[in-house]
Symmetry: none
Subunit: 130 residues, 2 copies
Amino acid sequence: MGSLQAVNEPTVLTPYRDEHLTLDFNRQHVTLDTDRLTLTRKEYELLALLVEHAGEIIPRETLLMRVWGYGGDIRTRTLDVHIRRLRKKLGGYADQYIETIFGIGYRFQPWRAPRFLPTQTSRPAMAWGA
Amino acid sequence: MGSLQAVNEPTVLTPYRDEHLTLDFNRQHVTLDTDRLTLTRKEYELLALLVEHAGEIIPRETLLMRVWGYGGDIRTRTLDVHIRRLRKKLGGYADQYIETIFGIGYRFQPWRAPRFLPTQTSRPAMAWGA
DNA sequence: GCCGGGTTGTAAAAAAGATGTAAAAACGCC
DNA sequence: GGCGTTTTTACATCTTTTTTACAACCCGGC
């Protein structure tokens, strides 16, 4: 018997890559710094969808539709729980990468060198007040 | 159509060989350390397919297709049972060699010196939680 | 500023789903 | 029929996903 048919699809999508994170859409491989992140199916699909649209806000409704196939207005917290697990696995970069857009959904942001300091969401606050 | 190659060429496949295991595709001969492994036909075909694609994840569906000719979504546990018998015959190396990819399939990994840590079976847990 | 209703975060439990395993049944060949 | 092999069955175990319950948070109105 000659060589077997390709066991894996020969799809060719350009991987995502930044300072700390890489995501290979073809092999469904994710790495954070040096480690390979082992994500479950849903975790991966969720992250992949977000990363694929890096910089864009994706509504909860859309995420629930694309990842879970949920249509209409289904009341579930599973999206939040999965986001949480992703954040956990993204470790300290979590807040940099996955942003919550209140009342709408989430947004993945490519890595950028840390700002002057705080992760100013919109809170100049009294960081150096006093 | 393509070139006029012999349809059934007596392909000479290069055997697989690592520290403990050898598999001669031509003679269908398998050895583990010093002993010869006597595998049944299905056991051999399954192992050969996995070894041939060492390092790659092969989906259950593909294994069922190529070894059993099962198409579509047939519900059977025979694959699991054969994997189990293979593992049994691979003795203590079983877990090193045949890896379960939850929800997808299996993967044969060539023998390698133990990692700095085990190949996280599937419990990344909160390694970076905190 | 404070309140209040809706939204998101979180931990834990429950449910769903997949694989591991032993044993019995079915198969195929002599 | 006997025997080795393969498949099914039934259940155990493990992983993943979803739900639950409540805490924390956001934001507009007062």
